[in-house]
C-alpha cells in the first residue's frame, strides 16, 4: 500500500484543513496507531487514587486501561483486557481493591496487573501457561505536578521532553499555590463529534466565545457580554502541538464563574504568591480569558478550573470526561464555589457547554455529504502575526483571536501521523527550558 503523506490534509502556510480528517475511518484508524498508541496521554490526577489499591478505569485511544496505586505508592497503567479471551476484567469506573477477577473464566489479577490465581487451576497442566509472560500489557507512566500520564510506546521521548517548555505555562495551573486535586466525581458524556473539534476549541478558539457564548456569559455575569475582542497584550503559545491562548487582563475567566469568593481568593491569595514565585507576567496571565489543550486530547480553562479529556469513539463520536481542579490548600467554601461554578458553566447542563456541543456535532456530521467534505476549512486568522517574545516560551503569535494554536496542533498531528519512528518527527521549536525547572 502506498504511504500517505498526511501533510496533504493540512496547510499551515495558507491556513486550511481538509475535512476528511474529521470523518474518514481509515484516517481514524491511523490516528489510533500513530497518535494514541504513541503519545503521552493524561490518564488521571493523583488525587483520584490517593490510597494503596485505589484504581480508575479510562481509555488511551480506544484501548481500555486501569490506572492503579501500588503497594509502594507508585502508579501502574495496564490494559483492561484479560489475556485469556480478552474480556475486560474490571467493569467499575473506580474504587479500591486488592485484585480483579475476570467474569468469564475467573482469572484473577493483582492491583499491579499481574496474573494471580486461576479459577479451577487444576485444568491447566504444568507448563501450559507462563503467567509472567502472559500478563496484560503495561504502559510507561510518569507524572507532572499531579497529572498522571501514560504511553504504550517504549521509544517515545520522556514526559519532560514531550511537555517541553509547555511546563512554563502548566505551572500556572498546577503549581500556583502548592498541590492540586480534583473534586470527587468525573462527569462523562457523549458528543457526536470528532475528538479534534473539542481539542482545537480549547487550544485556541477564543473567537467563538464572543458570539457563541454570549447568552451563557450574560447569564453568569449580570447581563454583561464579553465586550470587544482585545488583541493587544494577548497571545497564542504553541509547544509540541500543545497550545495556550491567553490575555493578560488577569480576571476574565475567573469572573465567568460568577463566584465572588473565588475572585477574591485569586486576587488576595493566589496572585501575590504567583507574582513572587512565577514573576509578574505569569501572575497577570493566570485568570485572564484563556483556554488550553495538551496534545493530543486533554484540555482545561485556567481560572474557570474545568478540566477534561476528549476520548475518541470512532471518527464521529467522542466521550467527554469532565473534572474540576482546585488547590489542595483552598478553604472548603472556595472549593465548593469553584465546583458549583464549573457545574453551572461547563458540565453537560452548563450554560456555556450546552452551546458548544451543538456546534461540534454540526461541524462533524455535515461531512456525511460527499461534496461537503471535499470543501476545505479556513484556519487563516492571524496567519502573519507570529512574533518573538523575550519572556514567553514557545511559538508565539500576538492576539488571542487567532487560529495559530490550531494550525500548530494540526501540524503536530500530521508530523506524528507521518512518522515511522520518533527520529522522523520534525523539531518545530527549540526549547529554552530543556532539563530545567520552569518555576
Amino acid at each position: 500500500m502506498q504511504k500517505v503523506d498526511y501533510n496533504k490534509y493540512i496547510d499551515t502556510k495558507e491556513g486550511w484543513v481538509d475535512r476528511r480528517i474529521f470523518w474518514d475511518e481509515d484516517i481514524y484508524e491511523q490516528e489510533l496507531k500513530q497518535i494514541f498508541a504513541k503519545s503521552w496521554q493524561f490518564v488521571a490526577h493523583t488525587s483520584m487514587i490517593p490510597n494503596v489499591n485505589d484504581f480508575y478505569t479510562t481509555y488511551m485511544g480506544e484501548d481500555g486501561v486501569i490506572v492503579a496505586r501500588q503497594q509502594d505508592k507508585s502508579i501502574k497503567v495496564y490494559l483492561n483486557s484479560c489475556p485469556h479471551r480478552g474480556n475486560k476484567f474490571c467493569y467499575a469506573d473506580d474504587g479500591n481493591t486488592r485484585s480483579f477477577t475476570c467474569n468469564y473464566h475467573g482469572w484473577a489479577f493483582g492491583i499491579d496487573g499481574s496474573i494471580g490465581a486461576l479459577a479451577n487451576a487444576h485444568v491447566y497442566d504444568e507448563g501450559d501457561i507462563d503467567k509472567v509472560k502472559c500478563g496484560p500489557r503495561q504502559a510507561r507512566v510518569d507524572s507532572y505536578k499531579g497529572m498522571i500520564f501514560a504511553t504504550f510506546d517504549d521509544e517515545a521521548p520522556s514526559l519532560e521532553e514531550w511537555l517541553g517548555d509547555f511546563r512554563w505555562y502548566l505551572d500556572m495551573m498546577l503549581d500556583n499555590d502548592g498541590e492540586t486535586e480534583f473534586i470527587n466525581g468525573g462527569i462523562k458524556s457523549y458528543v457526536n463529534a470528532n475528538w479534534k473539534f473539542g481539542v482545537e476549541n480549547f487550544i485556541g478558539d477564543a473567537y467563538h466565545a464572543l458570539w457563541n457564548h454570549d447568552s451563557g456569559l450574560k447569564a453568569m455575569n449580570n447581563g454583561e457580554g464579553f465586550g470587544p475582542a482585545v488583541q493587544e497584550g494577548s497571545y497564542h503559545a504553541s509547544v509540541n502541538g500543545h497550545g495556550w491562548e491567553f490575555g493578560t487582563d488577569g480576571y476574565a475567566d475567573v469572573a465567568i464563574l460568577g463566584r465572588p469568593k473565588w475572585l477574591e481568593y485569586v486576587q488576595n491569595v493566589i496572585k501575590p504568591k504567583m507574582e513572587k514565585r512565577h514573576g509578574k507576567l505569569r501572575s497577570e496571565i493566570f485568570g485572564s480569558l484563556a483556554s488550553v489543550s495538551l496534545f493530543p486530547n486533554c484540555s482545561f480553562l485556567p481560572g474557570i478550573q474545568t478540566f477534561r479529556v476528549w476520548l475518541p469513539r470512532g471518527p464521529k463520536k467522542l466521550e467527554l470526561r469532565i473534572w474540576t481542579l482546585v488547590n489542595k490548600n483552598m478553604p472548603d467554601d472556595v472549593k465548593q464555589e469553584i465546583n458549583i461554578g464549573c457545574m453551572q458553566t461547563f458540565n453537560p447542563a452548563g450554560v456555556l457547554k450546552m452551546d458548544d456541543g451543538e456546534n461540534w456535532e454540526g461541524n462533524t456530521q455535515v461531512n456525511k455529504g460527499y461534496l461537503t467534505r471535499q470543501e476545505k476549512l479556513h484556519y487563516g486568522c492571524g496567519i502573519n502575526r507570529e512574533i518573538e517574545h523575550e519572556e514567553l516560551p514557545g511559538i508565539i503569535y500576538e492576539g488571542q483571536f487567532n487560529d495559530a494554536n490550531q494550525r500548530h496542533f494540526y501540524q503536530r498531528w500530521a508530523d506524528l501521523m507521518n512518522a515511522d519512528k520518533w527520529g522522523d518527527v520534525p523539531t518545530r521549536y527549540t526549547p529554552k527550558y530543556a532539563g530545567k525547572p520552569t518555576v
Binding site: A92, D93, D94, G95, N96, T97, I183, N184, G185, G186, I187, K188, S189, Y190, V191, N192, A193, N212, D214, S215, G216, K218, A219, M220, G223, G258, E319, I322, W323, T324, D332, K335, Q336, N339, I340, C342, M343, Q344, N347, P348, A349, V351, K353, M354, D355, G357, E358, W360, E361
Partner: protein
C-alpha cells in the same frame, strides 16, 4: 396507601393535589415557561442532580453536594439559567427543543412538618431536537414539597439519572 413514619397516611385529596402540582410543573417546563416554573419553587429551593458513581458493590458510595453534579442549584443559580434563555442569543435553543415530561410512580409521604411532604416520582423526559435527534432520560426523583401561603411549592429535589455516561451532548432540560 402511602404511609409516613408515624403511620399517618396522605389523604387522597392531598395525593391528588400533589399529582396536579407535578403535572403542572411538567407542562410549564414542556412549554418553556421558565419564569412561571421559578414561581413554583420556594426561595430556598435546592435542585440537585448528582453524578452517579458506577462502582463495585463493595465500593459503593453515595454522592454528596460537594461532589461533581449535573445540577446543584439554588434559586439564584436557577435564575441565571433562565436568564440565558431570555437573552435572545441562546443559539442552540433556536429552533426550540421539543420536550415531553412524563411523570409517574408518584408516592406522597407525610413528614413531621405538617406543611411538608416527601414525594417520590419517576420522570421520563423525551427530548427531540434539530432534524431527528432523540434522547430519553429517566430520573428517580425525591422531592420535598412545602405548602407556602396555602400553595404547594417545590423546596428540594434530588434526581438520580439512570445513566452512567450521559448519553447526549447537553442537558438542556430540567428533570
Amino acid at each position: 396507601m402511602t404511609q409516613s413514619k408515624n403511620n399517618r397516611t396522605a389523604s387522597l385529596e392531598l395525593i391528588n393535589e400533589v399529582q396536579q402540582f407535578l403535572y403542572r410543573e411538567a407542562r410549564v417546563n414542556d412549554n418553556e415557561q421558565f419564569r412561571e416554573w421559578l414561581t413554583m419553587l420556594t426561595n430556598d429551593v435546592h435542585y440537585w442532580m448528582p453524578y452517579r458513581y458506577q462502582r463495585y458493590r463493595k465500593n459503593e458510595k453515595e454522592p454528596t453536594i460537594y461532589d461533581q453534579s449535573y445540577y446543584c442549584d439554588t434559586m439564584s443559580d436557577l435564575e441565571k439559567r433562565v436568564i440565558r434563555t431570555e437573552t435572545g442569543t441562546c443559539w442552540s435553543e433556536d429552533p426550540a427543543t421539543r420536550v415531553a415530561h412524563v411523570i409517574t410512580n408518584i408516592e406522597v409521604e407525610l413528614t413531621d412538618n405538617l406543611d411538608e411532604y416527601k414525594v417520590y416520582s419517576l420522570t421520563t423526559v423525551h427530548r427531540n431536537m434539530n432534524e431527528d435527534e432523540e434522547h430519553t432520560m429517566i430520573g428517580h426523583r425525591t422531592d420535598l414539597i412545602r405548602r407556602v401561603g396555602g400553595v404547594l411549592k417545590l423546596a428540594k429535589r434530588k434526581i438520580i439519572l439512570d445513566q452512567n455516561i450521559f448519553m447526549n451532548k447537553s442537558l438542556n432540560v430540567y428533570l
